[in-house]
């Protein structure tokens, strides 16, 4: 389940997150960015590396999924 979200309106498309992603799970075009759900492990390294804080961990979704025993 994908718990990482990139806020596209705030993103600068700089590629820092792609550079640190161990799973090759981020696709970056000129001004389009997306996470490949099937590859992402929610490791959060992209969140830490983002210089401008535009990647979020969806804590609500995480809690909900945990409650419903989906994780």
């Amino acid at each position: 389940m994908l718990l990482i979200e990139i806020l596209p309106d705030k993103c600068d498309f700089c590629g820092c997150c792609v550079g640190v992603c161990p799973e090759d799970a981020i696709e970056l075009k000129e001004a389009e960015i997306s996470i490949i759900e099937s590859l992402c492990t929610n490791c959060s390294k992209c969140i830490w590396a983002c210089p401008i804080e535009v990647i979020k961990f969806d804590i609500e979704k995480y809690k909900k999924a945990k409650n419903e025993k989906l994780l």
């Binding site: 640190v20 075009k29 390294k45 983002c50």
Partner: protein
């Protein structure tokens, strides 16, 4: 456009276009695929480079030189400023024009260039790379070639598709933000300013690089380890609010610098990696324009030689050639960087105090390191520790 090329280069930055030029001038048919609309834009760079770094590949030209640098100023956390005259002048570039001119030089040798061409896969036949898949204006296409040169920058994925681990550990990534700001009138126009310490940029540095007509690049990089606790942008916002609260920001950018040694492997059958994608960055300064062009030139030459001689194994000599030219030196820089990473503010202050006693005329960057070591023998232990650990 042809339906087959000797070499396809992925990425139209300095490393890619220099690689293309060096291959094309040896008679290769070359195609550069650039994902963005424009070569050279958007800029993701502090734009500083030495004279020699430029001159090896293109005649320095006022068209792309924004300012000429003759001094470095290092500012310690307590405000002590140490100014060092440079033995060799440097430049702050206008990258959007510089990259353009480099691309034109590749084109002059016969390289073709296609922008808005986003490479999203490799064609691999029995373990050997022999072309790329790409999207061009919404249409999926492919082009075959003898050798692919991956110059796809810090966000490199092309190498991974060939089985080379190109990603950077987040702790080694310098996460950077920069604004180009107008009317920075309180700085010398020929001086690059570097600020160190917890307040400015822990595990990195903060910079002010002057550009033409009173503008300046103001930015910083911190390691991903720091970014985990506090993102780079918050350091810059703090500084701007305090120092230049009512400023005109001309450009505001983010970017990553893989500040670590070169990838262990930068070639595989049918493919080589150059520039930031190969982590051919000076890990101490974070400078990657000159070293990327050097990597590109070696890569482009060896790729062409390999095709001309019909010798696939020759391509694999690229790793060694790079290591001899710069790779080994980058390993030393990386160790020094790892030492400096953990300097406390007090240590930075103490070094600045001893160095400021040296006569101006006798100051050099080498001297700065010497002074640091002579006056603060504990640094030797720090550095020795770093060398032993690695």
């Amino acid at each position: 456009m042809k339906n087959y090329y000797d070499i396809v280069v992925v990425g139209g930055g300095p490393a890619g276009t220099v690689a293309a030029r060096f291959a094309a001038e040896r008679g290769m048919s070359v195609l550069i695929l650039e994902k963005d609309r424009d070569i050279g834009y958007p800029v993701r760079c502090g734009e500083a480079i030495s004279h020699a770094g430029v001159a090896e590949f293109i005649d320095p030209d006022p068209a792309f030189i924004s300012s000429t640098i003759s001094k470095f100023a290092f500012i310690a956390p307590d405000g002590t400023e140490v100014v060092i005259p440079l033995e060799e002048k440097g430049y702050i570039l206008e990258r959007r024009i510089f990259d353009y001119e480099l691309a034109k030089k590749a084109a002059d040798k016969g390289a073709e260039i296609l922008t808005r061409a986003y490479v999203n896969g490799l064609i691999i036949d029995s373990g050997r790379v022999c072309g790329v898949k790409y999207e061009f204006r919404g249409e999926q296409k492919e082009i075959r070639c003898k050798i692919v040169i991956a110059a796809d920058g810090v966000e490199s994925r092309v190498g991974r598709w060939a089985g080379i681990k190109t990603y950077t550990d987040f702790r080694d990534m310098e996460c950077c933000v920069q604004m180009t700001v107008a009317n920075i009138t309180d700085r010398d126009r020929d001086t690059c300013y570097f600020y160190f310490g917890e307040k400015f940029a822990p595990q990195g540095y903060f910079w002010i690089f002057p550009k033409s007509n009173g503008a300046a690049n103001i930015g910083l990089g911190v390691s991903g380890k720091v970014g985990k606790k506090r993102p780079a942008i918050s350091f810059l916002n703090d500084f701007m609010e305090k120092k230049y609260p009512e400023s005109a920001v001309l450009t505001s950018i983010a970017g990553g610098v893989p500040s670590v040694t070169t990838l262990e492997k930068i070639s595989a059958p049918g493919i080589i990696i150059v520039g930031d994608a190969a982590r051919q960055v000076n890990p101490l300064s974070g400078g990657g324009i000159a070293s990327g062009m050097i990597g590109g030139s070696i890569g482009g030459r060896i790729a062409a030689e390999s095709i001309l001689a019909g010798d696939e194994k020759h391509l694999l000599t690229y790793d060694k050639a790079w290591n001899e030219r710069l790779g080994k030196r980058h390993e030393i820089f990386d160790r020094i960087k790892n030492g400096i990473y953990y300097f406390t503010d007090e240590k930075f202050n103490a070094i600045a105090h001893s160095f400021s006693k040296i006569e101006y005329e006798k100051r050099t960057i080498g001297n700065l390191f010497k002074t640091a070591l002579l006056n603060h023998p504990s640094l030797l232990i720090d550095i020795a520790r770093v060398f032993l650990v690695r």
